[in-house]
């Protein structure tokens, strides 16, 4: 457990992706089974406990340390699990066998909340400070991992020398502590079989394309369909089991019962998860209400009805269709849909066109309808995992832009820790600037250096790490959409804001107003 805790700790402090990969790979290489398998389960979010309440943890500590000292310490540290882990008295010289993560998991599963106290106490006595911290985070269900499940699988794939898609494919046929997976990756066991399980097929993704690149492509080779503004999902129904996978292979089915329950078997479908009202796509923000909840309330189900709009079919009646050309899969999809007419699903229509010019006009007219742009798919494209170059393109509609004024700046992390690279920008409202968003990207290295210098020379006020700057720089911000938000003072929030251009030339008086941003609300 101490070694696993040290890994978690290091992951939280390491900002770079490569650094995190290296830390995880070293862990997988150096730790035995089944310990590393349980660790992998924790890293991929499969180990979730709700074994103890914070008040129980606090009470345990209060039995060991003076309550006033505990209270002052908690005030200073600000986090209960961390306070208790640091303050827990150690008995020097007494060696208590350290529990493994596997042992902890096993015992937690077998113990009721009422009896968990004495278990915890014994473990806290055996572990080091970092181990105690990780344990307390784990049992109170507040373990924050500094990596995504995808990154943990990437580390595993690189370490084992296989493509990550091979891991994604078998992932849902496996369970912690994943011994067969490690055996296979170390070359001393066969590849795990998925059998009849409703496993995830890694998605095929599209390359972005610009209008200028279309000239080289023959429109007759491609089919077009709308790119809907939701989240890409995969639906799998096999036997009695139904799964709804996100793009990264996480099962999010519990949050969308109205989609899953009526689904007929046996089929694997690719589509876009949306909130649909009478066939109309609701703003992305509506879908966000549903995504934030693990299980929906009846009110949420009523107010934000979800559905999946289908793009593709990957498997039907025991047959893998991924090796068929897209046109053929499309006709299978249409046939399947006409036969089953499943509630909670509908079909994303193809967009007929004769020329790129015609398609561009269709795309530009499409802003109001929950559409992000167009997908272009070669008629003969097989369904290939990952983002192959050539068969599929996404042709996004032009981004929205707004001229804003740079108000505050903060230094970044990792490689950017010496640069003021995080910008808060504002729009005019009644003669004052109101912050409307933050951007961390979009600029070139040269622009970043120039902005950093300018910010240091034009700081008017400091609030801890934040510098307020003279309102003199116009940032042209690009963003995908804007929606209402009660969490922001301005009342609106942008989606994917990034710095499009630094307008060194533009007077701040000519920057946009909050009202002009509100006109773009979807």
């Amino acid at each position: 457990m101490n070694r696993f805790a040290a890994l978690l700790d290091a992951l939280l402090f390491t900002p770079s992706r490569n650094g995190k990969l290296r830390l995880m790979q070293e862990y997988f290489a150096s730790q035995p089974d089944p310990e590393r398998g349980w660790a992998l389960a924790a890293l991929t979010g499969e180990l979730v406990f709700d074994a103890a309440k914070p008040s129980q943890v606090r009470a345990l500590a209060a039995e060991r340390v003076d309550p006033e000292l505990l209270a002052w310490s908690y005030d200073f540290v600000g986090d209960l699990a961390e306070t208790v882990s640091l303050i827990w008295p150690e008995t020097p010289g007494v060696q208590i066998p350290v529990p493994s993560l596997g042992e902890i998991v096993k015992q937690l599963k077998a113990t009721s909340r009422n009896d968990v106290g004495s278990l915890l106490e014994a473990w806290l006595d055996a572990l080091d400070a970092t181990g105690r911290w990780a344990l307390l985070k784990l049992v109170t269900g507040s373990l924050r991992i500094g990596v995504s499940a995808r990154l943990a699988k990437t580390a595993l794939a690189e370490w084992g020398g296989v493509e990550i898609d091979r891991i994604e494919e078998v992932w849902h046929a496996l369970a912690p502590p994943y011994q067969p997976l490690f055996e296979w990756l170390e070359g001393c066991g066969p590849a795990p079989q998925t059998g009849d399980l409703p496993t995830f097929c890694p998605l095929m993704l599209a390359q972005p394309i610009e209008e200028s690149d279309l000239g080289g492509l023959d429109p007759r080779d491609y089919l077009a369909e709308w790119k809907w503004d939701g989240i890409r999902v995969q639906l799998v129904a096999r036997g009695d089991v139904r799964r709804l996978y996100s793009r990264s292979g996480d099962d999010i089915g519990a949050a969308f019962p109205e989609v899953l329950e009526p689904m007929p078997a046996d089929v694997t479908l690719d589509g876009e998860l949306l909130v649909l009202r009478n066939g109309e796509v609701a703003p992305f923000n509506d879908l966000q209400q549903r995504l934030n909840r693990k299980t929906p309330t009846p009110k949420l189900l009523r107010d934000y009805p979800a559905a999946v709009r289908l793009y593709d079919i990957l498997r039907a009646d025991e047959e893998d269709l991924r090796t068929l050309p897209f046109v053929e899969r499309r006709s299978r999809l249409e046939g399947w849909y006409a036969r089953e007419l499943p509630p909670g699903l509908d079909l994303s229509p193809l967009v007929p066109f004769a020329s790129w010019e015609e398609l561009r006009e269709l795309r530009d007219g499409a802003r109001e309808r929950g559409i992000e742009g167009l997908m272009l798919k070669r008629a003969d494209s097989l369904y290939l995992a990952g983002r192959p170059k050539g068969p599929w393109f996404k042709w996004k509609r032009g981004a929205l832009t707004l001229d804003t004024v740079l108000m505050y700046a903060q230094r970044g992390h990792g490689k950017r820790s010496s640069f003021y690279s995080d910008y808060t920008f504002g729009a005019w409202h009644g003669g004052e600037l109101v912050p409307v968003g933050k951007a961390y990207s979009g600029f070139t290295d040269e622009e970043l250096q120039r902005l950093d210098r300018w910010i240091r020379n034009n700081t008017v006020q400091r609030y801890g790490p934040v510098r307020e700057v003279a309102p003199q720089i116009v940032l042209e911000i690009a963003f995908d959409s804007v929606h209402r938000s009660t969490r922001h003072k301005s009342g609106v929030a942008m989606r994917f804001p990034r710095v499009h251009r630094v307008r060194w030339d533009k007077p701040v008086g000519e920057a946009d107003t909050l009202e002009s941003l509100e006109k773009l609300l979807t």
Binding site: G19, L69, E82, S417
Partner: protein, 338 residues
């Protein structure tokens, strides 16, 4: 107020300039220039420039001369550990405090009463300075920088191993360690050498003077090189020491893909480390941790305890629970940094 406490305060008390001994007419670590100062150690918040007379250990005086030149003081009076001088009827001795090179506790004997002023101190062994020497007294004035039971510094070796392990894991990355220029810098160097690290360590310009002074005063620290002369690529997989503020500011851009580490007792608390942009926190402190503070109170066994700079209330609370008369001094001017 108990009688004994009245007795101490009749000759030693806090003033706006700091701790003042009336019969001896001197201040200990004064915050503004005075006629006679006794300086416990060379850190900038304890040894300030511009005093007329300065009494301190020879090493502390050397450090002050290095830092302040002429402004170190009008008349510098060295006093070796254990030697005694009498000032206005007060017998004064300096004893090792184990904090940094030259650091001292001040022991005052006056009319049968003994006051021990700890200055900043620690109890664990430090290869760069003499170990803390406990001394019984009637009043113990102790620091409390890490005066909360969450502060328990792990063994130094464990933290140095963390640094060496990271170096092995990321051999292409420079490892820059934020260290205070006096004490911490030299201690980290010495600890690295003890752990068998023999390669040159590269120093930020602000650390060179004091490191050379340590060498001149007989503390050997192995090969160090000024960073200024080295190409960027030559720093891959090497250790660089720099003042904490430099590690995440513009100066750090000359380093190749640095892992930012920091050696400080504050690194024990995650949020503190995060807020400073630290990737590799190393809990290495020149101050006593909670266990050292409480053990020292027991060992000095003074009936009365005054607690100064740091988290006073918790240590005062602890001392009272243990039956000591205790109070916080709330002296101003001392910094949290170490």
């Amino acid at each position: 107020m108990p009688l004994a406490s009245l007795r101490h305060e009749s000759w030693i008390r806090t003033t706006s300039a700091g701790l003042y001994c009336e019969p001896g007419d001197f201040y200990i670590d004064p915050q503004s220039p005075v006629a006679r100062a006794v300086i416990t150690h060379g850190h900038g918040d304890h040894a300030r420039p511009g005093n007329e007379g300065v009494l301190a250990t020879p090493d502390t005086l050397a450090i002050m001369r290095q830092r302040y030149g002429e402004a170190a003081g009008g008349a510098l009076q060295p006093l070796a550990y254990g030697d005694s001088v009498t000032v206005g009827g007060v017998a004064l001795r300096l004893l090792p405090a184990g904090h940094v090179l030259g650091s001292a506790q001040v022991v005052l004997d006056y009319r049968g009463a003994r006051v021990v002023v700890s200055g900043d101190y620690k109890r664990r062994p430090d290869p760069t300075c003499a170990p803390f020497e406990p001394c019984n007294g009637d009043l113990f004035i102790t620091e409390a920088t890490f005066g909360l039971p969450v502060f328990r510094h792990p063994p130094d070796r464990q933290e140095i191993d963390k640094l060496l392990h990271s170096l092995a894991l990321f051999p292409d990355r420079c490892h820059v360690v934020g260290v205070y220029a006096l004490g911490k810098c030299q201690r980290v160097l010495a600890l690295l050498r003890r752990a068998g690290y023999e390669k040159p360590v590269y120093l930020h310009g602000a650390l060179i003077g004091l490191t050379e002074l340590y060498e001149n005063l007989g503390v050997s620290l192995g090969p160090v090189l000024p960073l200024a002369d080295v190409s960027r690529d030559a720093l891959r997989g090497r250790i660089v020491l720099a003042p904490p503020a430099a590690t995440t500011d513009r100066w750090s851009r000359r380093l190749p893909d640095p892992v930012v580490a920091m050696a400080s007792g504050w690194m024990r608390v995650r949020q503190r480390a995060k807020a400073r942009g630290v990737e590799l926190p190393l809990v290495i402190s020149d101050h006593a941790d909670w266990d050292e503070l409480t053990a020292t109170i027991e060992e000095v066994a003074a009936a009365e305890i005054w607690v100064t700079h740091g988290r006073e209330e918790a240590l005062v609370h602890y001392a009272r629970q243990k039956g000591y008369r205790a109070r916080g001094l709330a002296l101003t001017g001392f910094e949290e940094d170490e």
